[in-house]
């Protein structure tokens, strides 16, 4: 389960080695923006060794490589694919062809290394206006795509507007990303809230993202991880209601009822689907039991 994803700069050992204890469900080891061009070689070797030797406990490992319009991305994949991260995040993904280029190169490496084809997934970072418009094509470009990820900072630069705490300027992009991801059957993650000192703002921003349908949210600061995890976890009230729904359905079937009501409200297929999702999330968090 990925509620929170925490970016960690790829050339900073003292931060990377604490990655698993910062509370995030996933860490994104960054070889792109957090690393100076003169240190790309150093960072990719450090990240490779970190994945190979450190272990990140229950924390999923994602690596953000450099974009395909640089000379770095193939070298990044050469170094990182052999240590089998869960997901590769290609930045500035603007169309399906961008995804397919990365997919093809990873496939070559997997074959060369004797790895299972498709064992490393992709989570394309969409952070251009063109990328947002092509979000469904990107999300459904190939089976390797497991999720898409919205990058608000670069997007607003491309949109020629100011990034604000309220985020009205990216509301269209957020909704479009969620719709594209769900249509393609993949997960979708929200951009970081960049004011690391605003402990209330992160709750508001994460709650808004969740209300739109995002699976989880990223962060550039460990300070925001707790808020994100709380917002993207089902509440105990939600969990109890989900079990009540499933119990009402079970009883209704036993009694041969075509329609079932709970607390005076009809339980239809979307309510059952949401209840199942809540129970699944609760089980993954150790808060639930099989219905």
């Amino acid at each position: 389960m990925r509620r929170s994803m925490l970016f960690l700069p790829g050339n900073t050992p003292n931060i990377i080695q604490n990655g698993e204890i910062l509370g995030a469900d996933a860490v994104i080891l960054d070889l792109e923006d957090a690393v100076a061009p003169t240190e790309k070689d150093s960072a990719r070797i450090l990240v490779r060794n970190a994945i190979k030797y450190m272990g990140f406990g229950r924390c999923e490992v994602i690596v953000r490589i450099n974009s395909i319009d640089t000379d770095f991305w193939k070298k990044d994949l050469d170094a990182i694919i052999p240590v089998k991260p869960s997901l590769i995040m290609p930045p500035k993904t603007s169309c399906a062809q961008d995804v397919l280029a990365v997919d093809a190169y990873i496939s070559q490496l997997e074959e060369k290394l004797g790895m299972e084809p498709g064992s490393v997934g992709l989570i394309p970072l969409i952070e251009t206006a063109l990328g947002v418009e092509n979000a469904f094509q990107i999300a459904s470009a190939c089976k390797r795509v497991k999720a898409i990820f919205l990058g608000g900072e670069d997007l607003t630069a491309d949109l020629r507007c100011k990034r604000t705490k309220e985020g009205h300027e990216i509301s269209y992009a957020r909704s479009r990303m969620v719709c594209a991801a769900r249509a393609a059957g993949v997960e979708v993650y929200d951009t970081p809230f960049t004011d690391v000192n605003d402990d209330e703002g992160i709750y508001t921003d994460a709650q808004y993202a969740r209300s739109l349908g995002f699976t989880g949210k990223s962060s550039i600061s460990p300070r925001h991880v707790k808020a994100i995890n709380e917002v993207f976890s089902p509440s105990l009230k939600d969990i109890d209601y989900a079990y009540e729904v499933m119990e009402a359905i079970r009883i209704g079937k036993e009694q041969g009822k075509g329609a079932v009501a709970l607390r005076g409200k009809m339980i239809d297929a979307p309510i059952v689907a949401r209840a199942q999702q809540t129970i699944q999330a609760a089980i993954e968090l150790g808060l639930g039991r099989e219905a």
């Binding site: 900073t12 003292n14 070689d41 490779r48 970190a50 450190m54």
Partner: protein
């Protein structure tokens, strides 16, 4: 053979990192270690450095290691980077 043709550095002096400096030499390996955990882990750090140099087939070089409490895998990464840079590969 990994031939060091130029002076190269890798890493930093930040906590949990190590600064590796490599220079060409005529004959053999000359390793100088300065570590905040020299008494406890000096021998292990030297062993790690020598292992990486052997893996990369570096036989002649002067190496300075200034360690700030780096983990083994960090030392390995920084030595490898310094060697590749010293060979002119980066």
């Amino acid at each position: 053979m990994g031939k060091i043709i130029q002076r190269a550095t890798a890493g930093t002096l930040e906590s949990s990192d190590v600064l590796v400096t490599l220079e060409p030499a005529q004959e053999g390996l000359e390793i100088e270690l300065n570590s905040v955990v020299q008494n406890q882990f000096g021998a292990a750090i030297l062993e790690t450095v020598q292992e990486v140099l052997k893996e990369l087939d570096v036989q002649d070089a002067r190496i300075s290691i200034v360690d700030r409490g780096a983990l083994d895998c960090v030392i390995r990464a920084r030595v490898e980077t310094a060697v590749l840079r010293g060979e002119g590969e980066c």
